[in-house]
């Protein structure tokens, strides 16, 4: 594990690693997650879901549920008072299916009752008759256009091309490959849960919810409820992880409808199986790439085709597609490209946001290609990447200039220089638990081969294509205490810690109180796209600076000093040109300065028909090296070590950065060797933690990490987002190591035992 000094803890300012403000409550079991919030007179809600991937609803009779004792509400599409559909980008998903169901798990009705068991029985009593239709399962069929439209909006979520430079340019070396990425689940631990409390008379509702974006939820919920947004108040319930799965609406509208219908607080809580149906997943993808290069390995042109299965509803498929195809080249210079991108509608489960957002898929393909190019050119994997490494000022295949600090070469060199594991196969003491297969004790040391793989990634930060995902923060300062208010969803990433650090550094206070995260202040945008430290951090920083100006004016007035001469030094206000030094606590005694600020990133543009345009805001970079032990005969794998150097701009809280790196690596490891939602005929075959395998403490590799700190001038605090990069290039690095250990041409993740031993 990473060696990390955590001793230099002074006052919890920027650059230190103070402990989380919610840490104490969390270790004591006192922190209220959204599933832990109850109310007097509360009723339970539950959802009836489609058992078919594609069917017409011939008859829907909820009346048997009504007749059961304890049941207080049964609602269907007929009971939705406002907009009948919702969605993040296009509103194509019904609150409840009325005539047609388009995926297994689509909501049809909901009930409220006195006990979860009553709910279960009530759902079972609802009569639904279906006319089952042949489902559209194969995304290629959706592209071909040979299946009837399964939705009025058609079977293509988005088609986008990128054409840049000379489409005929070529070189003496040509490599191509087709890569497949399975459907990954975010698998947050804290299941979907909410408590909706109706206002007296049903004129409005308060929703306590675990989400990534309170204001977007409110907008969608209010529209479906037929209420103005002011009548719908959202309060962030404790969030047990998110990873993209809480960007879309799940139970929000249902829970509010039941509360308004019963006039009572209603709690909804998914079980694990229902959670697999209740949120979107990472897009499964099939990606073909052909790289043309010079004899010495420099990329001349890339041709590519992306096919993403978006499933039954749009969610964020169109944005995921653009992210995927605009990252085709990876962190490498490339002048010429022809890329064809499709995100299509099928009767498979809807897919949308997950950590990495399209770039995970692109990276697996472009890094497989770089290894093929290395072989074709007779170069080492590190060398081929160094030769092509992108630099600040290079143009992407969208024509956009990379203005972000781009230390790609440093990421590669520093990763390669990190120490290799000194542990031999099977560990120093030859414990079979250290072998592939672990507790199964099936592999023999003599059969195990070790491989090393390398991969590099570029990841965009913030939202793209013209979207103004601003963030709002308020700072109040008085009596030496700062109070911060923002609607930023804390999902575990530690924004609450960083916000306090910013306020301490800017204002020179020790005590920073965080007010409730809710919709009583303007939007903070989503906790996604690695954006909150940059965006909400920027907003908190700006609000604190605005308050600091007020404090300087106040101190200047009292002491007869020009405010421009004043600075904060530690916990004092100091006159740079004189002798005045007064503590912030003293300077703010009896006053209350209050400022609210919106932070906006620079504007971006839509892509044109040829995929050209400045569509992204900023970029971060990362490299990974994986050391993997493989038993080729049994197809068993153990990831021994992952080394990484990550471009973080500036580590505001090094301990939190390491937490993101180690956590992201575990998720990327999961995608590489074990995690996949298995779909057959539109049905999820493994909707449980028994059958959907997640990395455990025994699967976690040693992580050695180097933080590359080159503060980005565009970033308000010099800090880049660090959440997504760790999970991106680790997956291809692990697969490259498996290829190196076995000599097998593996082009699909997760790598299953049969992909290794039955090849």
């Amino acid at each position: 594990m990473t060696d990390l000094a955590t001793t230099a803890r002074q006052r919890g300012a920027i650059g230190e690693s103070p402990v989380r403000p919610d840490g104490r409550a969390k270790v004591q079991g006192q922190f209220a997650f959204s599933s832990d919030i109850n109310a007097d007179g509360m009723r339970w809600g539950a959802t009836l879901r489609s058992p078919h991937p594609y069917a017409r609803i011939v008859r829907l009779d909820p009346s048997p549920a009504w007749r059961m004792p304890g049941v207080e509400a049964v609602i269907t599409a007929d009971d939705v008072p406002g907009q009948l559909t919702y969605g993040l980008i296009s509103q194509d998903q019904p609150v409840f299916a009325r005539d047609v169901v388009r995926y297994v798990g689509e909501p049809i009705a909901a009930v409220a009752a006195d006990h979860p068991e009553t709910c279960r029985r009530a759902l079972a009593a609802i009569v639904v008759e279906y006319d089952v239709r042949p489902p559209l399962i194969d995304p290629e069929v959706a592209v071909a256009g040979t299946h009837e439209p399964i939705h009025p909006d058609g079977n293509v979520h988005r088609h986008q091309r990128i054409v840049r430079g000379d489409p005929e340019a070529t070189g003496p070396v040509v490599v191509e490959g087709t890569y497949e990425i399975g459907m990954q689940d975010q698998a947050f631990l804290g299941l979907e849960a909410a408590l909706a409390v109706p206002d007296p008379g049903g004129t409005g509702v308060e929703l306590h919810i675990a989400t990534q974006w309170l204001h977007e939820d409110r907008k969608q919920v209010a529209a479906c409820l037929g209420l103005t947004p002011e009548k719908v108040r959202l309060v962030l319930g404790g969030v047990g992880g998110a990873f993209g799965a809480r960007e879309d609406i799940s139970l929000q509208v249902h829970c509010c409808l039941l509360a308004l219908r019963t006039g009572r607080p209603v709690k909804m809580q998914y079980g694990r199986e229902e959670s697999f149906f209740g949120h979107v997943h990472r897009h499964p993808a099939r990606i073909w790439m052909r790289h043309h290069a010079t004899a010495d390995g420099r990329i001349v042109r890339i041709d590519a085709r992306f096919l993403l299965d978006g499933g039954a509803y749009a969610s964020t498929s169109s944005a995921v597609l653009v992210n995927a195809i605009t990252h085709t080249q990876g962190p490498y210079a490339c002048e010429n490209a022809v890329v064809e991108g499709w995100a299509v509608r099928t009767n498979n489960p809807p897919c949308g946001a997950m950590r990495g957002f399209g770039v995970v898929q692109a990276c697996f393909a472009h890094e497989g290609q770089m290894d093929k190019l290395a072989v074709a050119c007779g170069l080492e994997p590190v060398e081929i990447r160094l030769r092509n490494a992108m630099r600040t000022g290079d143009r992407l295949i969208t024509g956009q200039v990379v203005e972000s600090v781009a230390p790609v070469e440093r990421c590669i060199r520093e990763t390669a220089a990190l120490p290799m594991p000194d542990e031999p196969v099977g560990g120093f003491d030859g414990d079979p638990m250290r072998l592939p297969g672990g507790a199964g004790r099936t592999a023999d040391t003599g059969d195990v081969r070790r491989g090393v793989g390398f991969a590099v990634a570029i990841k965009n930060l913030m939202y793209s294509e013209g979207f103004d995902d601003y963030s709002t923060a308020r700072c109040r300062l008085g009596d030496g205490v700062a109070r911060l208010k923002f609607a930023t969803a804390e999902v575990g990433q530690g924004f609450v810690t960083v916000a306090q650090q910013i306020a301490r550094s800017v204002l020179g206070v020790d005590e920073v109180v965080l007010e409730a995260m809710d919709t009583e202040i303007g939007s903070a945008g989503s906790t996604s796209a690695s954006r909150q430290t940059w965006m909400s951090g920027g907003a908190v920083d700006a609000a604190c600076r605005a308050v600091r100006e007020r404090m300087f004016e106040h101190v200047g007035r009292i002491h007869g000093v020009e405010p421009l001469r004043l600075v904060v030094d530690g916990t004092d206000v100091v006159d740079q040109l004189g002798s005045l030094r007064v503590s912030v606590a003293e300077a703010t005694k009896g006053v209350a300065f209050d400022e609210t600020v919106e932070y906006h990133h620079r504007p971006t543009e839509d892509l044109d028909a040829d995929g050209q345009g400045n569509c992204h805001t900023a970029f971060a970079f990362v490299a990974h090296r994986a050391v993997v032990d493989v038993d080729p005969e049994l197809g068993l794998v153990k990831v021994i070590q992952v080394a990484t150097a990550q471009d973080v701009g500036r580590a505001l809280n090094p301990l939190s950065v390491i937490g993101q790196i180690e956590g992201g690596i575990a998720q990327g490891l999961g995608l590489a060797v074990m995690e996949e939602i298995v779909i057959a005929d539109g049905r999820i075959r493994n909707p449980s933690f028994t059958d959907y395998l997640l990395p455990t403490s025994l699967d976690a590799p040693e992580v050695v990490a180097a933080l590359i700190e080159e503060p980005d001038p565009q970033a308000p605090l010099g800090a880049k987002g660090v959440g997504e990069p760790p999970c991106i290039s680790v997956t291809p690095a692990i697969v490259a190591a498996i290829r190196a250990a076995t000599g097998r041409d593996i082009s699909r993740v997760p790598v299953r035992p049969q992909d290794i031993c039955l090849h």
Partner: protein
């Protein structure tokens, strides 16, 4: 179907009235006794978020019927440090960055307490094996493993 029984939770007797016998210990702790420290995340004994001690034995409370725990001493995360102070394990989790979203944390804290009572100075492999029934999706386990070793050292120093 409704039953009345008494559970001994963290040293105190709690009357459970009008309960369905099919309810798990996890459900009764949370929804009837208002003790939300144990979390439900898989309902299959795979994730360990609901870990509690029953007569000192580490169990997944989602797999135990509440009625079967009558007459046994149940310890939840809330009962590890009755005074509200943090135990060495809890303090180490906070200090070492082992907590992110925190949903797995109470179950892990209970598991680590049980481990360190049994094995005061466990090896890295012993820790990994003992924690392998507690899933964490945020941390990748690195800081958790660091916290367990820090807690073991702190406990040894206190002895």
């Amino acid at each position: 179907m409704s039953e009345h029984y008494t559970l001994l939770v963290n040293g105190a007797e709690h009357a459970v009235g009008d309960a369905w016998l099919g309810e798990s210990l996890l459900y009764v702790l949370r929804e009837r006794l208002g003790q939300f420290g144990a979390k439900g995340a898989c309902e299959q004994g795979e994730c360990g978020s609901c870990s509690v001690l029953v007569d000192g034995v580490l169990v997944c409370s989602c797999l135990v019927l509440a009625a079967s725990a009558v007459g046994r001493a149940i310890t939840t995360v809330e009962g590890l440090t009755p005074g509200g102070e943090l135990s060495a394990v809890q303090q180490a989790f906070v200090d070492q960055g082992a907590v992110q979203c925190g949903f797995c944390t109470p179950g892990l804290v209970v598991t680590v307490h049980e481990l360190l009572e049994r094995r005061p100075r466990p090896s890295d492999l012993e820790v990994r094996e003992a924690l392998s029934g507690n899933l964490c999706r945020c941390t990748g386990y690195g800081r958790i493993l660091a916290a367990v070793q820090a807690a073991a050292e702190a406990r040894a120093a206190d002895d």
